[in-house]
Every structure is written in C-alpha cells, then in structure tokens.
C-alpha cells in the first residue's frame, strides 16, 4: 500500500512547502508505534484517513496497520477492522473476565431485533419493505430506537414513486457485532443464493413493482459482492 507516497511524489510541488521529500518519514517500526498509540487512545474505530491525518507526512498508515494487526494476533487485545475503520478490541474469548465493564443494554423487542436483521440483510431497505417481509406494521418507536442506538441510519432515497427513505446499518452496528463489513453477516451468501434477499413482487403485480425491482434490495446486496 505505497500508493499514497507514490501519488505524492508524482505531483509536482508548486510551493516550497514542507514536502514529503523534505523530511524523511519515520522508520516503519516507529510508524507502527504511532498507529498503536493512536488506536489505543481512542474508543471509536478510526478510518485509514483519520489515522493518516495524525501521522507525520510520508507515513504509510496501511502498512503500519498491517504490521500492528499481525503483532496483536492471538493476544488479549486484537486489532479489528470495522467497515473502513480500525479499532483495538479485547479478544472475544476473554469477555468473561470483564464482568465489571459489562454494559447492561436495554433488552430489544423481537420486532426491533427482526427489523435490525432485515435492515442488515436487505439494505438499503424501505420501511414498506420491512413491513412486507414481517407481514406486520413496524410500530412507532422501533425505527426510532434503532436510530438512537446508532445501529441504523438513513441511506439514499429510493428512486421510485414517493421517493421513500431507505435504511442501512452503521459502522457502530458493525463494531457492536464484531463484523468487518456487512458482507460478513452470517449466512448472507446462502440467503442470497436461495433467493431470499430478492424483492419478488406478488404475481400479478409485477408491473407496479417493476420500478422497484431495478433499484431494490436485491441490487443493494448484490453490490456487496461485486468487488
């Protein structure tokens, strides 16, 4: 991952400002220490860009992260990837030692849990689609509760009549459930292959929903597999 420095050196420096060539970047071992300190100090995941912004010029945060990750492999604390960000987290097998730190969370209703799962697996998904899958109206407050937990957020509006808002899961959701990305949701591939993430209109209503199908959940989730 030396793209950053390559990119920098290709750009002609217009002003005699501190350029990467002026000061040599610190040795990689030192960069690794810095990244370690930065991640250690922060409870929230930090993106590559956020980490880079705090390092001296010419540092390669990605490479330092790679070293750090293998250094922490198998230890009591691990370097985890959360979406596009990174965080240090205690190893899951040691959770029982941390009784005192345990945060009691409000017990979620079955409706809230299912709504969350539907957003995660079908994202981006509209409220109407959630209701169609569950076969019941989403009660007031369920969406509100998930927004408040910062587990779901608004996605793009669907480009269909009415332009309904959609919901997607957040980085906090990934962090909370120890997922690197939404692609790592358990059983996602199997569900997709079984056609259970498609949006299939009721036979006879195909014309009405045709629009939707083009930009629907099925497309959203399959996008996840394209790269």
């Amino acid at each position: 991952m030396s793209d950053d420095s390559d990119l920098m050196s290709e750009i002609p420096d217009p002003v005699p400002e501190p350029s990467p060539s002026l000061f040599a970047a610190p040795p990689m071992a030192e960069q690794e220490r810095m990244v370690e300190a930065i991640l250690f100090a922060c409870a929230e995941p930090l993106s590559l860009a956020q980490i880079s912004a705090r390092l001296p010029q010419g540092c390669d945060a990605a490479e330092a992260l790679g070293h750090l990750r293998s250094r922490y492999t198998g230890r009591g604390v691990n370097l985890e990837r959360v979406g596009d960000a990174y965080a240090l987290r205690t190893a899951p097998d040691l959770g029982w030692l941390m009784q005192n730190e345990r945060v009691e969370t409000r017990k979620l209703s079955r409706a809230a849990i299912e709504t969350l799962a539907i957003v995660a697996y079908h994202q981006p998904v509209t409220r109407a689609e959630i209701e169609e899958i569950r076969g019941v109206a989403v009660s007031r407050g369920t969406i509100d509760q998930l927004l408040e937990l910062d587990w779901i957020r608004l996605g793009r509006r669907r480009m269909t009549p009415g332009r309904p808002v959609t919901f997607v899961v957040t980085e906090e959701f990934l962090d909370h459930f120890g997922l690197e990305s939404a692609r790592d949701l358990p059983g996602l591939k199997e569900l997709r292959e079984a056609g259970l993430l498609d949006s299939r209109p009721l036979p006879g209503q195909a014309v009405l929903e045709d629009d939707e199908a083009g930009d629907g959940p099925s497309r959203g989730q399959s996008e996840l597999f394209e790269d």
Binding site: A41, C42, G95, E114, V136, G178, G204
Partner: protein, 265 residues
C-alpha cells in the same frame, strides 16, 4: 393423503388451533401465525402444502369467531385472501382467464414464509454473535480525541430531525411519548408487570395491576386492561407468571410462577 389431512384436522389440528387462539396476542401479524401453523406440517418450508396451510388458517379464524375472539383486520384480510387462493388451487382455471395461477400465488406465499423464517434465524444468529460491551470491549479509558478542534459541537441527526419536527408543529408540539393520552401502550404495561411480578406470589386479579389514573374513565381503563392483558399473555408465554380463570368471563387472576425468581432468563 386427503384422508390423512382430514383426520389431522378433526383431531390434533383443531386442538392446536384452539391452543393458538389463546395465544393470539403473541403473534406478530398473520404471516407470523402462518409460519407457526406451517410448523405443524413438519416438512421443509419448500415442500409445504400451501393448500393445507390455507385450510389450517381458515380453521383458526373460524374457531376464533366461534370463541368470539376479535381478530385484527389484517388477520381477516389474510383469511379472505387465503380463501381466494384455496379456490384458485382447487378449481380448474377458466379458459382465457387472466392473472397469475393459484400455483404461482401459492409459491409466492411459501417464499414469503421462507423469507420470514430466514430473517428470524438471521436475527437469532446476529444476536448470538459476540457483542461489544458484553463479549469484547473497547478501551476503557480513552484519551479524549476526535477531530483536532479545541471545541466541537455535538448534534445528532436525531436532534436535527426533532428540531425540525418541533418547528413545523410549533406551539402544538408535544414530545411524542405523551401524545396518545388515552392509550396505554403495551410496552408500558409489560414494563410495569415485569417490575411487579417478583412480588406477585399470591393469586391477584388482573385489574389490580392497572396503573394509577387508568382505573376510572372507561376508555382509559379499557386501553389499560387490553395492554395489561396482552402483557400477561407474553409473560405467561415466557414462563414468568401463571394465569387462571375460574369460569368464562370470571376475573382473570395471575401470580408469579412458583420457583421463578423473576429474573430475565
């Protein structure tokens, strides 16, 4: 085959349907009920007999009517649709008839059930994962850092949306939690009962559990009774409490299930 179904319907299916009716408040809509009914067929959802399922559902609705249990409108809409589906499945299609075949509609329903089941399993698996703050932990004493600004202002999207909602309903705006002054929410009833259950070692009438201020005006009382009743069904289902009724329309009584400490699990 047909004979098998018939015997099943006359004996065990009917009994099951009756058991289900008592539990009607525990279902999250007609699709959820259908999914539960489908389990009695003891086959993979992909090989389910939708015709039989439709019949089971219609039996359920009939039984509910016989017992004078009012079903929510969406249960009746589903019943009407299943009756239609049943006729499409049983009768040969009219020549030149438009629209999807009964088989197509049945396949769609089976797929919907399979999808709901899949999401149920997915949510169970999701909640079964290691969770932050329970199984793994973030740094306990983070150094204050975020953006390199000395002073940052915090505002969430929710704050923003609430502010806008407040503006657009200026003067009339009240926090939504207090909107429906004569409706006692199910969640509140459940929460209240949960807190009272540990002390409920003796049989006590359901009415005694109504909250203060909800025992007078008929509309408010009705709402409180309905929510509290629904909550008792949920707790009975969870095995936390026991319910009894000496006779039809006799007062409903409840108590903590003996030996149950009142804990969550």
């Amino acid at each position: 085959m047909a004979d098998d179904w018939d015997t099943l319907e006359t004996v065990s299916a009917r009994r099951e349907a009756e058991a289900l009716i008592v539990d009607v408040a525990g279902f999250e809509g007609p699709l959820d009920l259908l999914l539960t009914l489908s389990r009695t067929q003891k086959v993979d959802l992909r090989r389910i007999s939708v015709l039989h399922l439709a019949e089971q559902y219609l039996v359920f609705v009939e039984q509910a009517r016989a017992l004078r249990i009012e079903l929510a409108a969406d249960y009746l809409v589903m019943a009407a649709w299943l009756a239609y589906l049943k006729s499409r499945l049983l009768l040969p299609p009219e020549p030149g008839e438009e629209g999807p075949t009964g088989e197509e509609l049945a396949a769609h329903l089976a797929w919907q059930l399979e999808r709901l089941q899949a999401m149920r399993e997915a949510s169970a698996r999701l909640m079964g994962r290691d969770q932050k703050g329970r199984d793994f932990f973030a740094r306990g004493a983070p150094t204050a850092l975020a953006v390199s600004r000395k002073l940052t202002y915090e505002a969430s999207l929710l704050d923003l949306m609430r502010a806008y909602a407040r503006l657009r309903t200026r003067d009339e705006f009240r926090p939504y939690a207090f909107d429906r002054s004569d409706i006692y929410p199910y969640e509140a009833a459940l929460e209240r009962l949960l807190s009272l259950v540990p002390g409920a070692s003796d049989w006590t009438a359901l009415q005694a559990y109504l909250p203060e201020g909800w025992r007078g005006a008929p509309a408010r009382k009705r709402s409180a009774i309905a929510s509290t009743f629904a909550a008792t069904l949920e707790l009975a289902k969870q095995g936390q409490i026991e319910l009894r009724q000496s006779d039809t329309f006799a007062p409903l009584q409840l108590r903590r299930r003996p030996g149950h400490g009142g804990g969550d699990e």
